[in-house]
Every structure is written in structure tokens, then in C-alpha cells.
Symmetry: C2
DNA sequence: AACATTTCATACCAGGCGGTATATAGTGCG
DNA sequence: CGCACTATATACCGCCTGGTATGAAATGTT
């Protein structure tokens, strides 16, 4: 995050591309192919820059991926934060499920969840990326657990409910939806799963 | 499938390894790293043979993978067929969930579901493998739907239940469990998810 | 023993990978 | 202008990938 008021004018040749736009295009490629599946050749082509420009601006492939992951979570996963603000536990679940549907079935050809893709695909190397993704997801889980604990305290969930169990179960469905979105599944089928799950969801 | 009674004695030098055992070891590697993530070097080392032996016996990497996938489904996914024989719809769900737990948390370090790994990881190439995996999964889904349709007709599910919706929802949880098993999740956490989901499951 | 046949082990191949050296072109400053 | 500085484009690097050519070793047949 550049502090614009401290940065003086650059002295050298100005770069000819927009790093934010380039990062957005890199995100699309990672989203489609995963970390290891995305080659430098495809990345640079999609970003419209050459390899030296990429390395000068973003460091290396791993650093680029982490920045793309940050962008992904800031833009595409914003619905998670919004969902937690729903007034009821059921509303949280609804927003979470429907929000994931929008994200996983993006208008672009890209489908599925970048986090899941990166988690499952990168068994070989890039342990640091695995840990990165796992840590991010874990923080979301704890936030959801806390939200459900509040709901239980407020009488918004049936007495005796286990917030942790409900949160984990909900996240499991979300991850399953991500896998299904990656396969041939249609949006209508995902909506059916969401509806079925919400019908099972405990009501106050 | 060799027809032993038509095969005469081999004329050349006998092979020094057991193809079945080698295939089993190849399966472990694919299970850990996915199709693209498993390199010939690691495969041959685990199988205890050299590359020319691998190609002479199994064809190429893709053919080897498909044979490993067959073995996987025959051995590791046998619980799916068994689950469908359960007397009640709830029993089917229980066996399916607990069976997946056993498979995904195998005693060996390998975890997760080979199908899910191959489906999610292979976005780049190997479209034929994607289709292979998707087709296999689809056949399991239709079998489960049929089983739940029978359950509905037998009054084993609440009237008005939608067999297809229940089956899809159950499979979504199964796939979510596979993802969770791939991450850092402990077996106890997976058991908690299963218990929570079964508590939500419609009872007659 | 000589042969045909099959497997084995070593070395090798072209191609793609992530990453970089180098030289040129474009900018603000003095 | 010349200078310091940074981005650009091209070409290149070592390494690993999936896949193979080749010759030796081990069998059954004649």
C-alpha cells in the first residue's frame, strides 16, 4: 500500500502498464489453473507484460500468487464478511451459501474457489502457499464460530446447538460446492444443493 | 484382464516385479500429488522399476493413472456400493459418510480423495482424465439418487422429499470432507461434521 | 549351442519450466 | 546537453519434464 503523499515523483522511465489491472489478469489465470498449473508464459501473456517486468514489479511467481490471493479475498470473498453481519444465524448461512454461488459461478469462464484449488492442487511443492491458504481459511472459520456462539447466546439457535459443529458443517458444504462448481455441475444444481441444505438447517 | 487359460508361457526374459504391487505404489503417489503433480521420477522410484519398464508394462503416464484410478475405485471406493445396500436411507447416508472418513483419513500419510484431487488439480491439461473422473462420479450419483427414490417409495423418507436433492447434498458434503481431509483437518473434526450433518438429516 | 523374444539398465532427447543477464529506451534533474 | 535511474525487450540459463533409443541380460525353443 503506497502512501501517495510521501512518494516523490519517480525518477526513471515510467512503467507502461497498470499493476492493479495486471494483477487482476494474473488472478484470472491462477483461478483457472491453480498455482502450479499457471505457467509464467500464460501469466505474462494475460498480464500483457514480459517476464522481467513481472519480476521487477511483483518479485517472483510465489509473491505474485500471494498478491493475487489477497486481491481475491478482498474482492471475491468480501461476501463472507458481509454474511457475518446478517441479523440471524440462518441469515448468515443463507448469505454465505448464496455468496459462494455467485463467486464460484463467476460470469467469466473461471469457476470454483481459488483457495480450494490452491489447497488441493499444490501437494507437491509450495508448502508456504498451502499454509497461507489454510491460515486464511482458519481465520474465517473462527469468525464464523464466534458469530454462531453469539447467535446461540442470543437464543437465535436451538438450545444445545454446537456453534463449532454448525460452522464446520457449513464450511464443509461450501467447500463441496467449490468442488462441484469445478466439475461439470450447473448453477441450477448448486442452487438445489443450497436449498436442500438450508431446509435442513436448524431453525430457532 | 488376462485370460490365464489362453496365455501360453512367456518366451522372453521374465519381468522382475509384480505389476499389481507396482500399480498399488503408483496409486499412493497419485493419491498424494494428483496426476500432474506426480512425476515419472517419483512414480518409478515408488514402484521400484525404471521408466522403460513402466512404459512397457503400463503404456504411458495417463494409462498408468487410469489403471491406478480403477484400482482406487475397486478397493478404496468399495464402501459406496456397500452403503447403497443399507436397509434405510439414513443407513445409506451413515455408511457413506463413515466410509469416506475411513478412506480419506487412510492410515498412510495419503489423505483426501483421489477423484477430487484429480478433478480440481487438472485444470491445465488432461481433459480426458477430467472427463474420466467426472463420469465415474456421475454414475455413483445416479445410483444414489435411485436408492433414495426407492427409499421415498418405501416410505423411508419424509413425504415430499426430493431424492435428487438429498443425494446431491450428501455428495456435496462428501466432497467437502475430502477437501477438509486434504488440509490440516483432524479426524475428530471430520467426525464432528459428519455427526452434525446426520443430525440434520431428515428422519422418516 | 544358437536363436528368438522379452525385460532390464543406462543414457539420451526435445521441450517447457521458473528465473535472469544484458543492452536499449524513456523519464526527471542538474 | 549529460547524468542517474528505471522500465523495456530479447536472449539466454540450468533444471526438470514425459518419453525413448540402445545394448546387455535372462528366459524358452530348436
Amino acid at each position: 500500500m503506497k502512501c501517495s503523499f510521501t512518494s516523490t515523483k519517480p525518477r526513471g522511465r515510467p512503467r507502461e502498464f497498470d499493476p492493479d489491472a495486471a494483477l487482476g489478469n494474473a488472478l484470472k489465470v491462477f483461478w483457472k489453473h491453480g498455482y502450479e498449473g499457471a505457467s509464467l508464459a500464460e501469466l505474462t501473456e494475460a498480464m500483457g507484460i514480459t517476464k522481467p517486468s513481472l519480476y521487477a514489479c511483483f518479485g517472483n511467481k510465489e509473491a505474485l500468487f500471494k498478491k493475487a490471493l489477497d486481491l481475491y479475498e478482498r474482492d471475491k470473498l468480501a461476501y463472507i464478511g458481509k454474511a457475518l453481519e446478517a441479523p440471524s444465524a440462518r441469515g448468515v448461512a443463507e448469505r454465505l451459501l448464496n455468496g459462494s454461488l455467485e463467486t464460484y459461478c463467476g460470469s467469466a469462464g473461471a469457476q470454483g474457489c481459488l483457495g480450494v484449488i490452491s489447497l488441493v492442487a499444490n501437494t507437491t511443492e509450495a508448502a508456504s502457499i498451502r499454509e497461507h491458504v489454510i491460515a486464511r481459511r482458519k481465520s474465517s472459520e473462527t469468525a464464523l464460530i464466534a458469530r454462531f456462539e453469539r447467535a446461540l447466546a442470543e437464543g437465535d439457535l436451538p438450545p444445545g446447538s454446537r456453534p463449532e459443529a454448525l460452522a464446520q458443517c457449513l464450511f464443509t458444504i461450501l467447500q463441496g460446492l467449490a468442488v462441484k462448481a469445478q466439475a461439470d455441475t450447473t448453477r441450477a444444481e448448486l442452487e438445489m444443493v443450497i436449498g436442500t441444505f438450508l431446509a435442513m438447517w436448524p431453525s430457532r
